[in-house]
């Protein structure tokens, strides 16, 4: 960077497009040990000094958000003759459909049509991994809310009135709700996966100490604010255009085509933005999309569906509840010598993404710890709930919660500070760095992060204070815990790790970018705009992100696995570099001709002063002679140079063998740690989060404002999961907590009073787009510090018993555990925990009507 007075000028030399013009997907796949050599070119590093990347640019849609001008699906203007669509969902968790008066309903005032599976022209089966789900129930229903029929009408009121005339006859069958019940009934999804390393049996039999127990966690509702929605229009010759609130437009396109018997090229799916998704719109946006597409196909009229929050929560899948039986062998110092985890997830009625989610659980069941001997068995149970699905962390949080619980119990058993156990077992650098699946954890800062956080948070001093407080206070308990986090980045399904982008430059020098990535609030579009602006050394304002459409970007993966920016950002940059190559070639001839020199592309510079509209291009042998970017583009156009290109990117080097369960599934890891302190009311179990300190290695941030939002937002979302978000069902499998009145996500009063969020510089991280790291999912798992802090608090009640604690640690759960500890030695009273010892909460209501009680 050179300074001219006050004016800062950034120059990116053209060498970046000649000598070092290595597109990342062109790189030879390096040997494992050469991984650290996989770095961007020096020119690319020079680009880091340019203006836009690394700055806190406002969110791409921020002004639209605050004015209400940013439109979501149900905000789009109604077109004339548009139909409103709703569905008839199953009232029972398991049953056989005997009869539905669909023909009668179709004749009612304002009703245009009622459609069942028999009306689907293509096939009625789908599933992202295993095709086992039906768009509309056929013969049997397998969960409450499962769509049986679609109802299309002229108005919401017409549909509301028609639903009163619904006559649905169903023969109830015996449902299965819990993991235990599913195991008894032998109802599973897929097969049991097994990760193995060393010899667990030997470690167990030779262990100095052992512990065993069961970890139980409930699910979590995504609670995106914009419920599932889709709007479809008829096109020519049976084509369908659909605007879907979906993380996965390509899947929407394909699934609609299959349901309607169309070619993929006859369906276009677009998504401008989602009002939150968090994984809940990765696969499950499909059902509403197919509903409106079918109505369009049947009626040739536009059709719209927008679920109510109640409908959405009742009928869509959630984070998987888990039950994990653990055995751990360890030394007197607390070094883990072996573990065996029998992991069961509650998958719900369909496979959805459960197999991939279980796989990620297996990949994260050791979290940040080296375990020489281990067995992880992962089994998915089929039950009569809506198919559980993706949710930020994707199975990782449950696996990590389990190992953190195990470590805490080792500490309680050994009467040691749990931090000591965590630090002792933490992955190291040159040894003790092999994961259960054989990948080596490289270039990480896990021990350094822990050590720094211990210092900055005053952990040791505070631990003493907390334990003193607990000995003195009759009314309250405090707990303190530090938990680390290591999260693997890449889809563990290899083929999904690809992305493509389309970049068009117009004659006025402005740029449009389209990728397959979808914007759900995470700031993907903002980051891509920044990346593209820097590629041409132009201003952020001259770059515009266009609607995501399968018409422009084909065969794209879902925007998920935190990899949105990695995949689509790289693809966009690759497209830019192709155009830049064209422009540089043209510019070198242009400037050379003026001075009678030889054209030298390596001397062409793109420069942006002040990040304003001051971008120019010149030959550095003659820097006085410049063209504005706009002039260059215009001249290049006149010279018939292509100003639009597609870029492609596929993540290099990743590989995993599911037969051996070994390989290198992740391109890199995002890591961090958190310290949290909680205060518990001994009488009510009420929990207050008093302080949290977070420290993460997210590489070099493309946009610090957005990344801070991801970290804080992810953490608080996780805090909801481990504390107050409590899904409760009736005994018949109806969700009782189906709206924010009863399902309590964190609100603004639930923030820790002291909240420190920081990032650490990792000089070893030299890969990935502008040396950034994925930041979407990882911060969520720092929430485990809060849950473990509760466990720590409970462990201070008495020193002869290890407290039990299920997840979430609601006030009720905490008070029951406190009472259990207080009454431990008293024989005259036993507490009935039966309702809480399952991974799903089934409430025995006093009367048959769940509804009236839910609204007391």
């Amino acid at each position: 960077m050179k300074e001219n007075g006050n004016q800062v000028t950034n120059v990116s030399a053209a060498s970046s497009v000649t000598n070092d013009d290595l597109f990342v997907d062109d790189l030879p796949s390096a040997q494992n040990e050469l991984r650290s050599d996989f770095i961007e070119s020096p020119a690319a590093q020079k680009r880091d000094r340019m203006k836009v990347v690394g700055k806190q640019v406002a969110h791409d849609s921020a002004v639209g958000h605050v004015t209400g001008d940013a439109l979501f699906v149900d905000d789009l203007p109604f077109t004339k003759n548009e139909l409103v669509v709703d569905f008839i969902g199953s009232p029972v968790a398991h049953g056989e459909i005997i009869n539905l008066n669909s023909e009668e309903l179709a004749q009612l005032d304002g009703i245009t049509g009622v459609f069942t599976h028999a009306d689907i022209p293509g096939h009625n089966l789908y599933g992202p991994v295993i095709q086992d789900e039906r768009f509309l129930a056929e013969g049997v229903v397998e969960y409450v809310g499962q769509p049986i029929a679609i109802i299309a009408g002229e108005s919401r009121e017409a549909i509301r009135q028609a639903k009163k005339k619904l006559r649905l006859e169903i023969k109830e069958l015996v449902p299965v709700f819990t993991i235990e019940e599913a195991i008894s009934a032998k109802q599973f999804i897929g097969t049991t996966r097994r990760f193995k390393q060393g010899n667990f049996e030997k470690a167990w039999s030779e262990a100095e100490h052992t512990l065993k127990g069961t970890f139980i966690c409930n699910g979590q509702e995504q609670f995106y604010l914009e419920s599932q929605a889709a709007l479809a229009w008829p096109g020519e010759h049976g084509e369908i255009q659909i605007h879907s609130s979906s993380q996965n437009p390509t899947e929407i396109q394909e699934v609609i085509a299959e349901a309607l018997g169309l070619g993929f090229n006859e369906v276009v799916c677009v998504c401008k933005r989602m009002g939150g998704a968090f994984g809940g719109k990765e696969t499950q946006a499909v059902i509403p999309a197919v509903m409106v597409a079918l109505v369009v196909a049947k009626t040739k009229r536009p059709a719209r569906i927008a679920y109510t929050k109640d409908e959405d929560m009742r009928s869509t899948g959630k984070r998987h509840p888990y039950k994990i039986h653990y055995k751990v062998a360890f030394t007197a110092d607390g070094k883990i010598t072996g573990v065996k985890f029998d992991i069961f997830s509650n998958g719900g009625a369909g496979a959805d993404l459960s197999t991939a989610i279980m796989e990620r659980t297996l990949f994260h069941s050791e979290n940040a710890y080296f375990i020489p001997n281990l067995i992880f068995n992962g089994t998915i149970c089929k039950t009569n709930f809506p198919p559980n699905t993706a949710f930020r962390g994707f199975g990782g949080p449950q696996g990590m919660a389990n190992i953190e619980n195990v470590i805490q119990e080792i500490a309680i058993f050994l009467k040691k500070d749990a931090l000591e156990i965590r630090r002792l077992n933490c992955y190291s650098h040159d040894e003790r760095n092999v994961t259960p699946y054989g990948q080596i954890v490289r270039n990480h800062l896990l021990p350094e992060i822990i050590d720094q956080l211990v210092e900055t948070s005053g952990y040791r001093q505070r631990l003493t204070e907390v334990e003193d407080f607990n000995r003195q206070s009759e009314t309250h308990l405090r707990g303190l815990a530090l938990t680390p986090m290591k999260f693997g980045i890449s889809f563990t399904t290899k083929f999904l790790n690809q992305g493509n982008a389309l970049v068009n430059i117009y004659k006025d020098g402005t740029v449009q970018v389209s990728t397959g990535g979808t914007e759900m609030g995470q700031g993907l579009n903002t980051k891509i705009r920044q990346l593209v602006a820097d590629e041409f050394s132009i201003s952020y304002d001259d770059v515009r992100m266009m609607i995501t459409s399968t018409e422009k970007n084909n065969n794209t993966p879902p925007t998920a696995a935190s990899a949105g920016t990695d995949l689509n950002g790289f693809a966009a940059v690759n497209a830019c570099r192709k155009i830049r190559k064209n422009l540089t070639k043209f510019a070198s001839s242009y400037f050379a001709a003026k001075r009678g020199l030889d054209p030298a592309p390596e001397h062409i510079c793109f420069e942006n002063r002040d990040s304003g509209n001051n971008s120019s291009v010149f030959d550095d042998r003659n820097p006085e002679n410049r063209l504005t970017f706009r002039e260059l583009v215009k001249l290049a156009f006149m010279d018939r140079v292509s100003l639009g290109e597609r870029g492609f990117y596929s993540t290099p080097e990743i590989n995993f063998n599911r037969d051996t369960e070994k390989g290198e599934p992740f391109f890199y890891y995002t890591t961090g740690a958190a310290v949290s302190e909680v205060l518990i009311d001994r009488f009510t179990g009420h929990l207050k989060l008093e302080r949290s300190d977070l420290l993460l290695d997210i590489g070099e941030s493309i946009n610090p404002g957005i990344d801070r939002g991801q970290i804080v937002g992810g953490f608080i979302q996780g805090v909801g999961w481990v504390t107050n978000e409590d899904l409760r069902y009736s005994e018949k499998g109806e969700l009782l907590t189906y709206s924010p009145t009863t399902y309590k996500i964190p609100n603004i009063q639930d923030l820790p009073e002291i909240f420190n969020v920081d990032t650490i510089h990792n000089p070893h991280h030299q890969i990935n787009i502008r040396r950034s790291k994925a930041v979407g999912e990882p911060p969520l798992m720092l929430c485990l510090s809060v849950w473990i802090a509760v466990k720590h608090a409970l462990s201070c009640v008495r020193n002869d018993v290890c407290p039990r604690l299920n997840l979430p640690a609601t006030g009720e759960e905490i008070l029951l555990r406190l009472t259990e500890l207080n009454d431990y030695s008293k024989e005259h009273r036993t507490i009935d925990f039966s309702a809480l010892e399952s991974e799903v909460s089934l409430v025995v209501l006093p009367s048959s009507s769940a509804e009236t009680k839910a609204t007391v």
């Binding site: 605050v66 604010l225 937002g713 009063q749 309702a835 409430v843 839910a854």
Partner: protein, 488 residues
């Protein structure tokens, strides 16, 4: 008598046929006016995405407050000026400083909750309160965001300098609007029409009386009428199709029910007094109740809901009831033939079954302030501390003399079909010293006097344990206070 509603939206006057009165404000904005900046998520007043400013006539002025537009129906909003997120830009289409602050602080991610947060912040500027971290959190308690974790939204709030930022309402000609309203509020609104679907017709009517006499007369004639003050529960029931009232009377324009006074240690609260008003009053006179008011609902709800509504709704977990029971509050029930005062301890006969006759309205509530030698504590246990429906509530009022309990009153909510007084436990405590063992034993007794159920919020076991523990908690808080006093 009018058959139309008069509502201003962003300064523009709308005469709305009474037939459109049975829809929520948010539906009207989104589907009739195409103002889709106002979002609806929960349709039950729990997320705040639909927050708008409402200017209503109070003391001959337009007073602007934030409310949840999804649970305000148009029939409640006659003579209101609604300001939506679309109405925040100034004439030059420059965004309002509140909006700018949210942009600069990266306060939005997906953007769906954002208009609601913007409007809730704008509402804080209307009242001119000082913006601290604490007050911004209070002002935004009614707004849920799933993306941001709120920190950057708080940053946005704290960056505002309310001394220099214009109130959103200042963009509009308040004088002209007020004059129009003053002319109209004295005219009652009545609308009656037939809804027809699939061959069946249903007669629907609503009435917005201008005077109490009209209201009582209407109630006398239409005994099944649903009376709505803030409507924060009824509108939820209507949105969720659990209730489809075909005859509604809104108290919006009634005068004389806004009384809020303290005279000779007797507090009197009119039926139209909102929780916001009562909360401000209690800050000075009844800090214990203020504490409950501050957590039990959001600003948006408290700006609409009333104490009288909380009582009339007859929920066993209504947050005001344990207090009213231990303080021996009385309600004035008014019918066209006269009034009577009824003690709250004799008001509830069973679940949602009250002493109120079909022709009666609650017009006032009164109670005597606790005497100096008494200790009053109120408890609310809920899953989330703020803006959550109670799992368990308790009111405990002890009169102490020389370290002994002269008299005890206990009222627990969420442990039966109505809020329960605990006569056996009260009797046990009488004459006993303030010792932990006494309260431990009292807790055991309390368990036996209640019959909680398991429901969506908690198991009966949890509620029993809370009932037992709350007495010990009370004891410890009292001795803490005592220790603090002695230390001082």
């Amino acid at each position: 008598m009018r058959d139309y509603l008069l509502i201003y939206v962003n300064g523009r006057r709308y005469k709305i046929s009474g037939k459109r009165g049975f829809q929520s404000l948010s539906d009207f904005l989104r589907y009739d006016l195409g103002m889709v900046g106002t979002k609806v998520v929960c349709a039950e007043g729990d997320c705040g995405s639909c927050t708008v400013l409402i200017g209503r006539v109070r003391n001959s002025q337009l007073l602007y407050e934030g409310i949840d537009s999804c649970i305000q129906y148009l029939y409640q909003l006659d003579c209101s000026h609604v300001i939506t997120v679309e109405g925040l830009k100034d004439e030059a289409q420059i965004i309002h400083p509140v909006q700018k602050a949210m942009v600069d602080a990266a306060g939005s991610q997906c953007g769906y909750c954002t208009p609601g947060f913007v409007m809730a912040l704008a509402a804080m500027l209307e009242t001119g309160e000082t913006l601290t971290r604490h007050s911004v959190q209070d002002g935004l308690t009614g707004n849920l965001c799933r993306c941001t974790g709120y920190e950057q939204i708080i940053d946005a709030g704290l960056s505002l300098n309310q001394k220099v930022i214009p109130k959103a309402s200042k963009c509009y000609d308040a004088k002209a609007i007020l004059a129009d309203f003053m002319e109209h509020v004295v005219q009652p609104v009545y609308c009656e029409y037939e809804k027809k679907w699939n061959g069946a017709g249903q007669q629907v009517q609503f009435f917005v009386p201008a005077y109490l006499e009209e209201a009582l007369e209407f109630k006398q004639k239409n005994k099944h009428v649903t009376v709505v003050a803030g409507g924060t529960d009824i509108s939820v029931q209507m949105n969720k199709e659990r209730l489809e009232p075909n005859c509604i009377m809104s108290l919006t324009h009634l005068t004389g029910l806004e009384i809020l006074e303290i005279e000779n240690k007797t507090v009197t609260v009119g039926a139209k007094v909102t929780w916001t008003e009562l909360g401000e009053f209690c800050q000075e006179h009844l800090p214990e109740l203020d504490e409950i008011i501050s957590i039990f609902a959001s600003r948006q709800i408290k700006n609409a809901a009333t104490l009288a509504g909380n009582i009339a709704n007859a929920s066993p977990i209504a947050d005001s009831l344990p207090f009213l029971h231990v303080i021996d509050a009385e309600m004035e029930l008014t019918a066209s033939h006269g009034t009577r005062w009824v003690n709250i301890n004799r008001f509830y006969h069973g679940y949602k079954n009250t002493e109120m006759k079909p022709d009666e309205l609650i017009t006032r509530i009164r109670w005597n302030l606790p005497e100096p030698e008494t200790v009053l504590k109120l408890y609310k246990v809920s899953k989330r501390k703020d803006l959550d429906i109670s799992t368990f509530t308790a009111g405990i009022l002890l009169r102490l003399k020389k370290g002994k309990i002269q008299n005890a009153r206990l009222a627990f909510g969420g442990v039966g079909p109505v809020v329960l007084r605990l006569p056996k436990t009260e009797e046990f405590l009488q004459g006993k010293p303030m010792l932990p063992g006494i309260f431990h034993e009292a807790g055991k007794l309390a368990r036996d006097e209640i019959s909680p159920i398991s429901d969506v919020r908690a198991s009966s076991d949890y509620r029993l344990q809370l009932a037992e523990n709350i007495l010990l908690k009370f004891f410890h808080e009292c001795s803490d206070n005592q220790n603090k006093k002695e230390a001082a």
